[in-house]
Assembly symmetry: C2
């Protein structure tokens, strides 16, 4: 066996250990009896530990060193080497003791957070978050080349980005978004009562299944189950699953959630099968992954062409609920912009303000410029400024998201907005290449879009870093203009804004 073959075999073993752990996690979220949790946690941790041991073994270091000639190679093997090296470096850079301490603290924090949030008691969670910030700073300290304390976390999720580059991008975006939101919210809100009727669970699931089958999610290589929090999970190229949850009194969350997860899954389903079992056989970053879920959710499934095709199907399935609703009324309802306090319930326009707020506050906490004790005030001031609302409680303010209370602080939010920006830029490029795209979608034909994405984004898996992928697919680096153009065109029309 050559060193390269041996590296690939070793990477495949690591991949298979992670995939096995993923099956255990999927079952934990779907079918496991609650009392199985303790042993399951131990078994998942064991598989993670075995994978980490192999990732950081002397043999792995030796193989990578023998293969360092590949580091600038433009071939697939070169890309494989670079990603394997990157994963090895990240795994070896943080001492095992710190990893263990941070994990143990995160587990305690999570338990404390569920209670503190239920009791709206920020004081109770504050010392946990303070220690988590301190642990995160020590973690970042293991990366001495980083320019900013947030950079190692950002780089882990969205390679190529830095705290500085994101701040610049987000600052420009916010300057445009805040006045746009203001202009929209001055107008009368569309009526969304047609979505807030009783829709039986099985019928919602059947319609969601019909929609994502139509969009191109391949159930022969996947399936959908119910979970408390929806997700997409990959076990192998031919086993990529999604989950959802259903609110019987609101049609929107399960439907668009299903499309969202199917968007993630279609990305994974269209990766070059030759990459399966290697570090190239997955999405290249959180931002690019989120771009694929948001593209299908927002640019397709919230579009008028899409509903021209699917509204008759929806009405056939729910004739009583939609007897007196027109497709345009429905289209307006499903695109209502509002002053939500809660990120996960917010709309396509305001969502990014929620994300940017979190990114900025976590940056300041890690820098030490925002003491954890001042977090609630800083949160409330910012959301009042951006959206004109103030949370009545910290439970619906700075304690609402699990992210800061279940892992190290930092790097887990920016990808949501990067994804929205990328989605618009990819979609603009696809529209340019496919002049009849809208017309095809209104006839229920998404194959051209899927094929464009397969060719320019999906098949490459993690071969290219996000920047390079973006330039290859759209001819330009990441920009905010396509996203703003999309919002201005769509919501200008929907809300009758003066251009």
């Amino acid at each position: 066996m050559t060193a390269l073959q041996e590296l690939k075999a070793e990477l495949r073993t690591i991949h298979d250990l992670h995939s096995a752990a993923a099956v255990l996690e999927w079952d934990q979220s779907t079918y496991m009896p609650a009392r199985g949790a303790e042993a399951r946690g131990r078994q998942i941790a064991l598989l993670g530990k075995l994978a980490h041991e192999r990732r950081t073994s002397p043999r792995m270091a030796d193989l990578l060193s023998q293969l360092s000639g590949l580091s600038d190679d433009e071939s697939v093997d070169g890309a494989l080497y670079r990603r394997a090296h990157r994963l090895w470096e990240r795994a070896t850079q943080v001492p095992a003791e710190l990893v263990a301490e941070a994990k143990a603290h995160a587990a305690e924090t999570y338990v404390a957070w569920t209670q503190a949030r239920a009791e709206n008691n920020f004081a109770a969670i504050r010392p946990f978050l303070e220690k988590n910030v301190e642990l995160s700073r020590r973690w970042a300290g293991c990366f001495p080349d980083a320019n900013h304390v947030l950079d190692p976390f950002v780089d882990a999720m969205d390679p190529g980005m830095t705290a500085a580059s994101i701040r610049t991008l987000f600052s420009e975006l916010r300057d445009e978004l805040v006045p746009l939101v203001e202009a929209i919210l001055e107008k009368p809100a569309p009526d969304r009562s047609c979505l807030e009727q009783f829709f039986p669970k099985d019928q919602q699931l059947a319609f969601g299944r019909q929609v994502v089958t139509g969009l191109g999610y391949d159930f022969a290589r996947g399936r959908q189950d119910l979970t408390a929090h929806p997700f997409m999970i990959r076990f192998a190229a031919n086993d990529i699953r999604i989950t959802t949850r259903v609110n019987e009194n609101d049609l929107e969350p399960a439907l668009l959630g299903t499309v969202h997860e199917a968007g993630h899954a279609m990305y994974e389903q269209q990766i070059d099968p030759a990459f399966d079992g290697t570090p190239l056989g997955e999405g290249t970053s959180m931002g690019v992954h989120e771009s694929q879920s948001r593209l299908w959710e927002n640019l397709v499934a919230r579009s008028r062409p899409f509903w021209l095709c699917y509204f008759p199907e929806l009405r056939a399935r729910f004739p009583d609920q939609f007897r007196d609703v027109t497709v345009d009324e429905f289209y307006r309802a499903i695109n209502r912009v509002g002053r939500s306090l809660i990120r996960v319930e917010s709309d396509e326009v305001t969502y990014n303000l929620h994300v940017m707020l979190r990114f900025e506050l976590e940056a300041q906490m890690l820098e030490g410029t925002l003491p954890v004790a001042d977090l609630p005030d800083a949160w409330n001031a910012r959301i009042q400024n951006d959206l004109g609302v103030t949370p009545a409680s910290d439970a619906e303010g700075c304690m609402q998201d699990v992210h800061w209370f279940a892992s190290t602080v930092g790097g887990t939010f920016q990808g949501y907005t990067l994804g929205n920006l990328m989605a618009a830029q990819f979609y603009q490029a696809a529209e340019k290449a496919l002049p009849t795209l809208s017309a095809e979608i209104s006839r229920g034909n998404t194959a051209p879009l899927r094929q464009w994405l397969a060719e320019h984004v999906h098949q490459h898996g993690a071969r290219y870093l996000p920047d390079e992928l973006m330039v290859r697919a759209t001819g330009r680096p990441l920009e905010i203009a396509p996203f703003l153009a999309h919002l201005r065109a769509k919501y200008g029309d929907l809300y009758g804004l003066t251009p």
Copy 2:
């Protein structure tokens, strides 16, 4: 850490690797999209390999050697040492190359068997079975202390038993069973048409769930799903699952199959929780495990007291199907004895003739006294002699069961009949200790039986070998008398036989 603590930690890691593989296998049989099979097989094999490496590591040998003082210790730790040593010995005794060759051949044989059986072509599978017999003989040759070529396989499944001891037992049993079956089959067969109606799947599942909940299977620490072949599977003390399949045109298979698997599961659910994650935290042998499934299936769920309680429930759920059926007609129907050619479709009385036939023929094949080419004739002669029927084809003769075509030959059948014998002996002891047992069951109260089993059988897990467990629980070594007494009393009454 002491050597004993280190041994326990190492055994727990091995247990957790096997449990993780079990979750992957469960998903493979329940929910996995078919196309996920290739990667899944690789991932299950990886976990098995890692467990085997740890089981046979120099460190394990060293720990066991340090702890050899425990080998005669009567404590739980002594039992743990003995079982760990036994598992280590079995794992180290067969060379890895032979294990790999046998596995590879078994996989090829399985594929060839599915086709040969479908085409009723024994000639096509014959060379595969011949090689499998040869591999099995080589495998047995790795155990030079064995008196008979079948002994290593029997010992792996039913420790303490040998080919000789089973032949003696089975010979006595057959001498009694053959005339009993003849006497029964001379009488008119009960009418089972009430079972052969249309019973919708969901209703069958709901009734099965109601029954096994009533019997004591704890769904808070388990669940039931659908599979092509039903099984019980343990992931941890608090996650022990069962599966079933449903024939909508026959009530019996899913109902009694569910009780059967729940019987296996209740054994596992009542093992001392302190044994979880150790080699003592599982059933002690195939025979004892089967005794628990058969006890609930045959001695409880085919009994008249049980149906006195559950027939009204059944009729309430299926009023049209059972409007004109009495509980005694139903009891007779569900206990019909017949000349089945197929083991898995046979009744409580003839089942053991099917098992003994297989045990004897596999013994002769391994001894070399029965050439594989003569297997069909030997099979047909024996079943004609024992049951008065001859298969019209080898597909419903010697090719019907997967066992010889999916693993080494030997040791996998005797446990079914050992289980039937043990079940009757355990039940007889329970009846003696609980004089109102039948009356309680007819009131739907199985708690006393469950508690008796927990105390005398279940809690001990694999602490005692089957022989010792039997003597502790019933005061006697394994005997055929209780089983024959049960059959004679029950079927004498049902069929009006002269005593």
